[in-house]
Symmetry: C2
Subunit: 188 residues, 2 copies
Amino acid sequence: MARPKEFDELAALDAAISVFRDKGYAATSATMLVEALHIGRQSLYDTFGDKWRLYLEAVRRYAAQETEAHLTALKTGPQSIDGIDALLARVVATASEACLGVGSICEFGTSQPELTTIHEAAGRRLHAAVIERVREAQSEGSIAGDIDPEQAAQFLTSNIAAIRLAARAGVGGDSLLALARLALRGLR
Amino acid sequence: MARPKEFDELAALDAAISVFRDKGYAATSATMLVEALHIGRQSLYDTFGDKWRLYLEAVRRYAAQETEAHLTALKTGPQSIDGIDALLARVVATASEACLGVGSICEFGTSQPELTTIHEAAGRRLHAAVIERVREAQSEGSIAGDIDPEQAAQFLTSNIAAIRLAARAGVGGDSLLALARLALRGLR
DNA sequence: TCCTTATTTGAACAATCATTCCAAAACTGG
DNA sequence: CCAGTTTTGGAATGATTGTTCAAATAAGGA
């Protein structure tokens, strides 16, 4: 062995995430990536293959990080509804940065199987956790019992995307908070 | 005067809309546009200027068409709540096609003033109509009186985007309907 | 019918794209 | 200090990008 790896691969991925999240895939050039990751062109291709594979890896990492943060927020509070509330509050608080998940869905829809697989994996994980939390909240009486927990979970995750989209459209923080509050109100 | 125009400019714009709406701006090439619009390259540039101006024109036309359709749906039914219901139902029914508005927001956020202007113009128009309808529904008793009509309107338009985003992510029609129903439930 | 004026068409433009080759520089383990 | 490997930047790849030039085509009005 001689020289070990000189750059942090995960840090480079994070840099890629921040480029892709606000430029999208198509509008991001290899040159932009080289500058943002602070590594040489060849290192980029050696490490990540090509632009598409780097994108997939970035989305994968972003989805994992984001899902983890969501699950952590979900665990908040004495009551289950507090966790759901914390989840939405976190989304509002972080809404100033574009969501790579939303961007990725918008740009590619379900046309790229490799991408869809990533979204579905992260989606299922969050979905299951939200469903469980909704069920608990129902037995605690803070969510109406006549609501299908699965539909409620879909509604919540869908409204998370909606809040982020509204933020990207320029809607202010106060209004985003109102969106979160009304979404919750629908489940009472 | 010599030769009249050989192609329908508005039909060409509609073709441009359908390309941009499912490829996005950056991933759409001039060649793709030429093929989709069924006009020569030069005719395209003579008529629309360049790719960006064509995009702006497409978004403008799409926004106008979509706003009009929304306003029409809003007028439905004996009660005001029926109009709101029809609005959401239409969104669910047409959700299989990508929304150029959502795509445009996702791709550019508020970074392009010319684009933001278009969105805001269409947004204000729909927003005002929804607010009015919400107020009526409140006096008819089908929407809770303690809800701020402005926030309710924002919530509704935001959920319209959410439904379209969910559809783009592959969520089925039944689930989309459930999303619409839960959104409405939040206002009761 | 000829001329004028648009429109269309296809070739050509320079620029940029993602990607690869290559050789020099940088660095660590031995 | 040397060996060996990784990183790096520049040059070059062929393909595609958005855009324009120039000639050909067509349809009024004269």
